[in-house]
């Protein structure tokens, strides 16, 4: 065992250098005031004070959370039926569909978002189509709708794949048992299939919500310069303003927000697991006996 555990050393070194050290550095920047050097510094909490006493920054944080929640809800509502359909297909069809969902992910997210600029831009194909259908020529780019679309498009595969996995892993005999015991299709879905797939939904939610709340290039590309989310504020502090300390402080606040939401999602997960295990013992237990 000891020889094997040594194999993890490169990974630990990597983890320290690429994850832990930068995190510590950000935390350090967030509570000091020294510009970008780390030789002379003084501890301060003024960056946090600056953030929390400014209505504008808080509003942006709020809007980022709202748009991330919207994205997550839309991804779940659209993603679940798709995942359900895929899980119910024959092996061949299922593999093809999974491939179809995965293939776009082989292309860089940035490039795919650029493609949307072309589609949504003024005089672009989507606007022409709407014009032909008699909707006038609404402006599509630089709207909240465009940003939302970009986020849903980019993050929905994570949701579908997660739900699909949990649906596929499900013991099919449970569904048969439910039918044997007289439940109709809707009842089976609501009381057996859906609760069992909840862990997938929950992990899908965290995979969609977390990147959505901190996304900065999607709002930048599809929302324009007047559509700032919290990620853009952070990017701006580092890249153009040069206020690394304040940028780091906002990053820390974001990290805290994310950890809170992870905690909430985990609690949801635990609760559903409780239900699931109950569901498993009842029909499953009878089947086994």
């Amino acid at each position: 065992m000891k020889t094997f555990s040594r194999l993890s050393v490169p990974y630990l070194v990597w983890l320290f250098m690429m994850v832990l050290a930068p995190m510590l550095l950000i935390a350090f920047y967030a509570i000091t005031d020294s510009g970008n050097g780390i030789i002379n510094f003084t501890f301060t909490l003024k960056h946090f004070a600056k953030f929390f006493t400014d209505r504008d920054f808080l509003l942006i944080l709020w809007r980022s959370l709202v748009i991330a929640v919207k994205t997550t809800v839309i991804c779940t509502v659209i993603g679940y039926p798709v995942a359900y359909f895929i899980a119910g297909s024959s092996d061949k069809v299922r593999n093809a569909l999974i491939l179809a969902i995965t293939i776009p992910m082989w292309i860089n997210m940035l490039v795919r978002t650029y493609a949307w600029i072309g589609i949504l831009s003024d005089g672009g194909p989507l606007q022409r189509l709407l014009e032909m259908l008699g909707f006038g020529s609404p402006e599509l780019m630089y709207t909240e709708g465009a940003v939302l679309l970009g986020m849903v498009y980019n993050f929905i595969p994570f949701m579908i794949l997660q739900i699909n996995t949990s649906l596929c892993k499900m013991d099919k005999s449970l569904i048969e048992a439910s039918a044997d015991l007289g439940a109709d299709k809707l009842q089976t879905f609501l009381r057996v299939v859906f609760p069992l797939s909840l862990p997938g939904v929950v992990s899908g939610i965290s995979l969609v919500f977390l990147p959505a709340v901190s996304s900065f290039f999607i709002p930048k590309l599809l929302g324009g310069g007047q559509f700032f989310l919290i990620g853009n504020v952070i990017e701006n502090q580092f890249i153009t303003v040069g206020e690394w300390n304040f940028g780091s402080a906002i990053s820390m606040i974001m990290a805290a927000v994310m950890m809170c939401s992870m905690y909430l999602v985990r609690r949801l997960d635990l609760k559903t697991e409780g239900k699931v295990s109950k569901a498993r013992t009842l029909p499953g237990g009878r089947l086994a006996s």
Binding site: D56, F57, L59, I60, R63, L110, V111, Y114, D122, G123, Y142, F217, L221, G224, G225, Q226, F227, F228, L229, N232, V233, N236, Q237, T240, V241, G242, E243
Partner: protein, 358 residues
Amino acid sequence: MKKLLLSAMAVLSAAALSACGGGNEGPYAGQTLHVYNWGEYTGENIIADFEAETGATVVMDNFDSNEQMYIKVANGESFDILVPSDYMIERLIQEDLLQKLDKSKLDCLDLLSDGVKGLPYDPNNDYSVPYFWGTVGIVYDKNVVSEEDLEKEGFNIFKDTKYKGDIYLYDSERDSFMMALKALGYSMNTTSEEELNEAYNWLVECVETMEPEIVTDEIIDNMAQGRKALGLIYSGDAAYVMTENEDMGYFMPETGTNIWSDAMVIPKNAENPELAHEFINFVSSYEGAADNTETVGYTSPNAEVMEEYSSEGGYYYGINAYIPRTGNPNDEVFVYDETTRAIIADLWSRVKVAASNA
């Protein structure tokens, strides 16, 4: 980011081109010239022609901001030619990163327009030879915006609620603050925090009442399509817009604007300064300058080319954006000041935050 992708493509295509031209004969055969220039900023034939004439291979990298270029150069990466803007040249000279040009090797200085020669950042053109120059101004739809309003309000037209929801601002702290400071009648190079704060309030009021879209190069195509009535724009981009759409006009407020120029310089650590001088001559010559100005749309520093392209029958005839204004005492060249830059950058990010919440 778009520029980044384009630059990547440009680099690839340059590499491909140079691979083809490998066996060329010429006085500089086998040598390489490293050029670091803005994206979409070179004439279509200029590189190939230069390679054919000299036998050298040109490798071009692109940047999309002076600051991005500065970081590479300051970190010691070697290029033979850079094309930074005025204030950045000033900074590079101050930090001793440029070498003096050998004027005995240059035959192009006499070809330059008077307006672009000996500008304050390099009074004797000891370090730099202009590449393009121009102004910043207002592009407007002549059918929607009255000339009278423009004359009367100048940059304050961006706060005229008649045009609410119908304007583009340019996502650059320097140009936005120039607009606000000039609207208020201050110098664009002010270091007074009071004046900068006033300009900040001007901009916040603008984004909160006018519903502007804050864009960068998208303004070019969108104004060419006439999507909005007003926008803050570089003269060269306006020249392009006006050649595409005759309803568009270009206006420079009497209260002054920014006269800018980008110029070729040779860094201290250049590997092939000899060839770099050759390149500067080539680009500044009639053919090179004409190719550049026709492709890119910015004003040529070559007096003859500018004259020909803007006079009757010329490609930019009747397009006032093509000819930079001279003689208005309120027009200024941007001066670099690190403290002010930091303040403006911070305030501009606050303006965008305010715009997002509006």
